[in-house]
């Protein structure tokens, strides 16, 4: 599908839905080109390449709602699914809260060039992609201890996507993005028979923003080799530092119950807690959609609501929720957007080695393994692995341990925050240090 036509296709679908009897409609159309090159142990393992497309149409008919999506954009199909969506909606119960966003929420779209599309994309060749994967492997195989490497898998995947959204009450928006993701996974042989693995990766909207890909190979190999000889430590209350790459998922579990759906459905531990203290002063998080080239950056969200930076936690106090249009209407609250953009932590002034010195004795968590979090009560329990901290330095690796607590209590134990936010995620979380938290092991 041509560049100019995704917006036209969306407009056309909205018109069709209205002609067929919908009072309101919204359509989103996307085309995505994705290429993936996989390399393993000196050989090309996999190449995959395709351009895919999709249309989603939401109809609001006689106070009722339904949505249909399809990968088939032939005009006859679009016409049929518009009719089908309306028929479906009419069979349902009416829902007075199901309306398009108030057009006022579309207003004030920022005039910022977020630079999410790299013009270099179209010139990237199969040879370049392959060269990246080979370079990553070569770097992994140069690290000290390389004779213990069992296998190195590297890949380079990239995509170019174009999305258009049109609503019958005046919203139109187009987003074009590219992204590039080199990665490595390394397995090593532990003398005890285990084959521990670890990985590393980078990602950016612009090819030139990627670090030297050799760093990814080296880091993945060092991480995997660092797992050799991992043992289970003892249960107890300890001080934990959480590595930036892992810390984003912990913040994500805290923030899940901030959704309008969770609030309205009475399954949020945060109900009635706006303006109240949730954690220590160091829990300070801003949702910032306007970071140029940021992985979560945007000018508007999936409903068309104009993006704005806002504080989520300010010095430990809960400031705002993630409320989409539907649950905003149900709750009688102004929608704020139901989706996070970039999450930025208020940074400390120390790097991780300095924080470890300050900790003296404890654990550095480099990864979580499974576990879950109960958004209704705040209880959580997560598998952890990483390294012991002894005398302010990293010591032997630990594995097969667990961290548990309740979010409404846990974040009060946050005693230090690093200056090292993770760069390859929309959650830009630095090293976090928690004192006196519950660990399970032997």
């Amino acid at each position: 599908m041509k560049k100019s036509s995704i917006l036209e296709t969306a407009r056309h679908a909205v018109q069709l839905a209205q002609q067929k009897g919908a009072q309101d409609a919204a359509a989103s159309v996307a085309t995505v080109r994705e290429v993936k090159v996989g390399w393993r142990d000196g050989n090309l393992e996999k190449i995959s390449e395709a351009t895919t497309q999709g249309l989603a149409i939401e109809v609001y008919a006689d106070g009722r709602y339904a949505a249909v999506s399809t990968s088939d954009l032939l005009p006859a199909t679009i016409e049929k699914i518009c009719g089908q969506a309306i028929d479906m909606a009419r069979s349902l119960a009416p829902d007075p809260f199901r309306r398009l966003p108030d057009p006022k929420l579309y207003e004030g779209r920022a005039a910022i060039d977020l630079e999410l599309e790299d013009p270099v994309y179209d010139t990237l060749t199969a040879e370049q992609r392959r060269a990246f994967t080979q370079k990553i492997e070569a770097a992994a195989r140069e690290v000290e201890g390389r004779e213990r490497i069992v296998s190195v898998t590297t890949d380079f995947s990239d995509s170019h996507s174009e999305m258009a959204r049109v609503t019958s009450n005046g919203f139109e928006g187009v987003v074009r993005e590219t992204s590039f993701w080199p990665s490595a996974e390394v397995s090593v042989r532990d003398p005890d028979g285990r084959r521990p693995e670890d990985y590393d990766y980078a990602g950016a909207h612009h090819l030139s923003d990627l670090p030297d890909v050799a760093l990814i190979g080296r880091s993945a190999a060092k991480r995997a080799l660092g797992r050799i000889g991992a043992t289970k430590g003892t249960s107890g209350k300890r001080t934990l530092a959480i590595d930036p790459r892992a810390a984003g998922s912990l913040l994500g579990r805290l923030m899940g119950p901030l959704s309008g759906a969770a609030l309205q459905q009475k399954r949020s531990m945060f109900e009635g807690k706006e303006g109240q203290r949730i954690g220590s002063d160091l829990l300070d998080v801003v949702d910032d959609p306007f970071i140029v080239r940021g992985l979560g950056s945007r000018l508007f969200d999936g409903e068309g609501i104009a993006a704005k930076p806002r504080s989520i936690f300010e010095a430990g106090v809960l400031r705002s929720f993630y409320i989409d249009n539907y649950y905003g209407l149900k709750l009688g609250r102004t929608p704020t957007s139901g989706r996070s953009s970039n999450l930025t932590f208020k940074l400390g002034d120390k790097d991780q080695p300095a924080l470890l010195k300050q900790i003296g004795d404890g654990l550095l968590v480099t990864g979580f393994l499974g576990g879950n979090s109960n958004g209704t009560t705040g209880d959580f329990s997560l598998g952890i692995q990483g390294f012991l901290i002894k005398g302010g330095e990293l010591a032997e690796p630990f594995a097969e341990m667990n961290l548990s607590g309740n979010h409404l209590e846990f974040w009060n134990h946050l005693v230090a925050v690093g200056n090292d936010p993770f760069a390859f995620s929309s959650s830009r979380v630095p090293t976090l240090v928690f004192e006196g938290v519950q660990i399970a092991g032997t």
Binding site: T52, A67, L116, S151, R195, G248, L369, G371, T377
Partner: protein
């Protein structure tokens, strides 16, 4: 939008209310739009269902010839049409409906262990040929194959998932009472139930695999699931939980007895949480009850036995075939043949027959789970485990229904044998590192066991262990095998696949419980 796609490396399993991958609509809706006027061009043998989309023998010949044109060892075309419908009830009304229709074709060319893959949503001969040439480029020679003798094949006399009425013929008005009934009954079950949500999903999928060895297999693959979530309040405290029922089945799955079970269990699992605590932290004996405890097998051994990890030498089980890895009372299988189960298949996504594969026979490690590539690598027969999320993905070895066969013990005697430990009843998710062997699973409901008796209910705790060590540590196996009926979805390399799991009651002598205090 940009996302952190590295997460896709994880091997995980999730339950119930996870979002739906896709949905559908009647094929009448789609069929007309696609059937070109010259649907019978080429004059070849009928290609069955996909003929309506212009797929005939000449198109298949052309696609396969292009895929093999650079000297691949073999190639396949995977055609898929899938219509998924989802209905949602919230705050007392069925007020949302979603449908998704996907139609596409993936083409794969394989040279040794190397895979070239491409897909398209356009079934014109030119588009299919272009995709096939893209995939073919994994090989670099020049080759031409003659006309392939096409052989339409079926591996089952009777489908493992026959339905009374196909989902595309089930009216919305037949589905609505199911959701409304569950809502009313859950709310009436106990005054503490404050909110109820219900979702009902159904899927009509059809696949056609055409291989360069001439084999062509078609399969009709229905799927459905029903999930009920409850939020309850007691003395200002809230708790939530859910129950799901799923299978490759039609609307007859939702019998009165089945709906009773869904309501009773969702309500009971929620209300008991008011009396539950997080158990103590540390190592202790753990009893896993019959049914969804099979999550332990999925994580502790199932993934590690997928042959792609072993052919690459990165699984902890890579060099253990023929070795004793567990007590002799343990036999573990992965089975694609259980009628109507979520993990059932008549044929896998590479056109190979499915079977019941023995992973561990009386404690001895027997067979990896193979796809076509690994079977060729090891020189063995494929086990029918080559699966993919959709036409947009190349197949990889995946589990189907993974369970442990019955053992000699009674459930009561297993519980009575534990002086101080926990019993685990329901689970939400799990994850594994296939090389180190460490795995976790999250327990939603259970009990403390004190002096051989169930005492205080427990909740929300993660268990963590090491696969081979935990299997060696299973010292009692019950005689009450149950295949769980819940909606389990396995994630691997960014692809979701429906699976089943089962277990008799077992005792693990020691596992780390991620509790409190």
């Amino acid at each position: 939008m940009a996302n952190d796609n590295r997460i896709s490396r994880r091997k995980f399993l999730g339950y119930g209310a996870a979002s739906l991958a896709a949905v559908a609509m009647s094929d009448a809706l789609l069929g007309c739009a696609h059937a070109p006027a010259d649907a019978t061009k080429g004059g070849g043998a009928s290609m069955g269902y996909f003929e309506r989309f212009g797929v005939d023998e000449s198109l298949i010949q052309r696609g396969l010839a292009a895929a093999m044109s650079k000297g691949a060892d073999f190639a396949d075309l995977f055609f898929q049409h899938r219509v998924v419908n989802q209905l949602g009830l919230e705050d007392g009304e069925v007020n949302r409906a979603y449908a998704s229709i996907s139609l596409g074709m993936g083409v794969r060319a394989v040279k040794g262990d190397q895979t070239g893959y491409a897909f398209t949503e356009d079934f014109s001969p030119e588009s299919i040929e272009r995709a096939a040439l893209t995939a073919a480029a994994i090989a670099t020679a020049k080759a031409s194959i003659g006309n392939i003798p096409i052989q339409r094949t079926s591996f089952v006399d009777k489908s493992r998932y026959e339905v009374q009425t196909r989902w595309e013929d089930v009216a919305l008005s037949q589905k609505l009472p199911i959701l409304n009934q569950l809502n009313a009954r859950a709310l009436a079950a106990d005054p503490r139930i404050q909110k109820v949500s219900v979702s009902l999903a159904d899927e009509s999928g059809v696949i056609l695999v055409a291989r360069s060895d001439g084999r062509v297999v078609e399969d009709f693959q229905p799927m459905t699931s029903l999930a009920l979530s409850c939020i309850a309040e007691q003395n200002g405290r809230r708790e939530s939980n859910s129950y799901s029922l799923a299978g490759r089945a039609g609307i007859e799955l939702y019998s009165p007895a089945a709906l009773d079970r869904v309501v009773d269990r969702a309500v009971q699992r929620t209300l008991i949480l008011f009396d539950a605590i997080q158990p103590p932290a540390g190592e202790m004996p753990v009893v896993l009850t019959a049914g969804s405890s099979g999550i332990l097998l999925h994580e502790a051994i199932g993934h590690g036995m997928e042959a792609d990890f072993n052919r690459k030498g990165i699984s902890i089980y890579a060099d253990k075939i023929g070795q004793s890895i567990a007590p002799s009372l343990i036999t573990i299988v992965d089975d694609g043949t259980i009628p109507g189960s979520r993990g059932a298949l008549n044929v896998d996504d590479e056109g190979n027959p499915t079977e019941k594969t023995v992973l561990v026979d009386k404690g001895v490690l027997k067979t990896f789970l193979h796809d076509e590539i690994s079977a060729r690598h090891y020189g063995v027969k494929p086990t029918g485990n080559g699966r993919r999320e959709s036409y947009a993905y190349a197949p990889i070895p995946r589990m189907r229904a993974t369970y442990m066969e019955n053992g000699p013990h009674e459930r009561e005697e297993i519980i009575a044998s534990v002086k101080k430990g926990i019993l685990c009843e329901t689970f939400t998710n799990g994850q594994v590192q296939i090389g180190a062997g460490d795995f976790t699973f999250y327990v939603k409901n259970g009990f403390l066991i004190e002096d051989g008796k169930l005492t205080q209910p427990i909740k929300d705790v993660n268990l963590i262990g090491n696969g081979p060590r935990v299997l060696a540590n299973i010292d009692m196996v019950g005689n009450d095998l149950l295949i769980d009926e819940g909606r389990w979805t396995c994630g691997k390399d960014g692809q979701g696949a429906p699976v089943s799991q089962g277990m008799p009651t077992v005792r693990v002598a020691s596992l780390t419980v991620g509790g409190q205090g």
